[in-house]
Amino acid sequence: MKISVLRAYLKKEIIDLIRNKMIILIYLIPTMILILFGFGIKLEVTHARTVIIDNDHSKLSLEIINKFSRTKYFDVRVENLSYKKALHLIQTNKADVIIIIPPSFSRNLYKGAEIGVYIDGSFPLRAVTLQGYIEKLLINGFNIHLPIKIENRNFFNESLRDYNAVVPGLFGLIFLVVPASLAAIMIVKEKEMGTIFNFYSAPIKKVEFIISKLLPPFLFHSLNIFILLLLAFYVFNVPFRGNFFIFWVVSEIYILISVGIGLLVSIITSTQIAALVLSVIITIIPGFLYSGILMPISSMDKESFIEAHIFPVMYYNHLVYDSFLIGQGFKASENVLYFFILCIYAVTLILVGTFFVKKAIK
């Protein structure tokens, strides 16, 4: 490995990124994704716009209204509307939930009394969650004896914060998509512009070229590990219970995997736009699906479960969630195993890439 070759490319790449202002985007995009997705993905349901039509005006009905008003889950308005008008509120997206308490509801208890609840089902997760809350509140409101009471103990994310759930998962997404596309583009650009000729005709080895081209995106994004970590701490207040060193090393290896994917993409594409598009496509879906944000891997059906094990995202995410929320570190044999699997990914990808890079005009 000649240091001068490395220096040549490194210097050139840095000048390029600075002169065309791409450097801003390298640091802006990951931060932006973290902030937007972190704040934007709201899976927890609060402040559902609820209209209660009380035709009963009894003690019980008032009690129910009070129960709903007291939680943060519902913003209650009591109105006197016809059934049709009420439905229209949902149809025109002015309410999320309508609860209709029929006349003489309290008198008909145990005698076929019925309470009508209408939920806007357009957002399914929201609808299911609301349904659960409503059932719980109503049954509570009836003041009856329940045979089994659940006493739950929450692990890892005790206060059930959305941020703790979403933010660590985003690391695996960001560090898969962004370094891969940057690496792919930086290599393909030389192909598209014709400057790859300098590599073809100079006495430098394939390995030297590849290392020189992958190093800049790797280094640039290494800094992003720290930036994102700080954001997670200070903007989202996510706890960090694991070993920082493990987290850091694993993240660097993961970025290496990502630039390795970029290298492979650059081999099969010849224009920058194609490289950008392809690298984003093949990384964003697994990055999102297997991030654990939306669904824990263990809860996947067989097919997805196997798929999840093919992509590196799952292993990284396991270690990231461990670092943030669990803190087992290398005490757990599984974490050690996953760490080695990630190393194997990194080495394999870059070796395969090196094998397929050709040092000649096609």
């Binding site: 934007g40 019925e114 299911v128 089994i148 659940i150 103990r153 959305d162 736009i273 496509i281 969630y321």
Partner: protein, 359 residues
């Protein structure tokens, strides 16, 4: 005549870029399919484990009521430590400890407290899972007699079919992204390939060139939307449409031009396609997140809600959800049409001025 020449040229260029065509097709079909199929937000298949300390048959009875699709086959653990360990290694999400006291209380009809350990990493999932548990346990005691029937109807999507919602949300996100990329690229490609000067020297007005170029890409988008809606949204997922499809086309068309205006600004400031790609990401992400594609607007911070009035995507998403799910008719949708038209005119004007400076 000249316009048709430009359209023909842009179509040819588009179809000659095999990579781009494949990507567009992918984004309008497979990607929508994967998003609809793969992203399930309501918990399914929750992996569950338990410890039977009481060693009583009633426990087995309770366990047998945890079944698909909500729960996986429960796994038995020997003691609480093993159960916890499994949670720590994320093998299971929910662990239930049936201790002696619980069984005794249950048999003697006192209120029995059940210990449930839950991995709440995914907070919302954990919450819904708890609701599931609650419901199952409630129904387990079949002598439970509720004073009133609770009649819950989830309108528009009674079975909470996530495919319908996800596929449409993904489609709208993709239209936004493709609209920005495609329209900006038709201009920037000329810059990058050095044909910009030639374009300027054509004996036609700049406005005609700009308009024809945008139109060519809007038509490609509309074709993509047709393929996507026909093949995936209706074809594979059987999504119902309660409103009128033509309304959807109309709003899509207006939206394409609004997005086109933003794309013109991107095109004006970018020299390379790479810059287009990155600027698109920077503009697209906030646009999608602030417009209620994945989280309903009403659940967002009031400030963001006000901000979202400036996003053309907001009206598009609302109108689309209204058309498909809520079944709104043309007149109900009028405010959206006008808002979108207004956005389209404003944004297009800004973009046109910006790129017009280069002509």
């Amino acid at each position: 005549m000249k316009m048709s020449a430009i359209l023909k040229k842009e179509f040819l260029v588009f179809f000659r870029n095999a990579g781009l065509v494949i990507f567009i097709l992918y984004a309008f079909t497979l990607d929508i399919y994967i998003a609809g199929k793969g992203i399930k937000v309501t918990p399914r298949n929750v992996s569950i484990g338990y410890v039977n300390e009481a060693d009583n048959l009633i426990v087995n009875k309770i366990i047998s009521s945890f079944h698909k699709p909500q729960f996986k086959q429960p796994k038995m653990f020997l003691n609480e430590k093993a159960l916890k360990n499994a949670i720590y290694n994320r093998k299971i999400i929910v662990g239930i400890v049936f201790d002696k006291q619980f069984v005794n209380n249950l048999i003697s009809k006192k209120q029995a407290k059940l210990q449930v350990l839950i991995d709440s990493t995914a907070a919302a999932q954990a919450e819904v899972t708890l609701i599931y548990l609650q419901n199952i346990l409630m129904k387990f005691e079949n002598n439970l007699n509720l004073p009133a029937k609770i009649n819950i109807i989830k309108l528009f999507n009674p079975n909470s079919n996530t495919k319908w919602f996800m596929s449409l949300s993904e489609l709208m996100s993709n239209i936004t992204m493709l609209g920005l990329v495609l329209i900006a690229v038709v201009f920037v490609r000329e810059k990058e390939n050095g044909t910009w000067d030639i374009m300027l020297l054509m004996p036609v007005r700049g406005s005609l060139i700009i308009f024809s170029k945008i139109l060519s890409q809007v038509l490609i988008l509309m074709a993509g939307i047709t393929i996507s809606v026909g093949l995936i949204v209706f074809g594979v997922f059987n999504t119902p449409i309660n409103g009128n499809l033509l309304d959807f086309y109309l709003i899509s068309f207006l939206f394409s031009f609004a997005i086109g205006g933003i794309a013109l600004v991107i095109a004006a400031v970018s020299k390379t396609i790479l810059e287009v790609g990155h600027l698109t990401i920077v503009i697209m992400l906030p646009l999608i997140f602030l417009s209620g594609a994945w989280t309903p607007l009403s659940a967002m911070n009031p400030f963001i809600q006000y901000l979202s009035y400036l996003s053309p995507l907001r009206y598009y998403i609302q109108a689309t959800q209204d058309i498909f799910f809520r079944g709104s008719g043309f007149f109900d949708l009028l405010p959206y049409f006008f808002a979108e038209l207004f956005m389209a005119m404003v944004l297009f004007y800004i973009g046109y001025k910006k790129i017009g400076k280069l002509f």
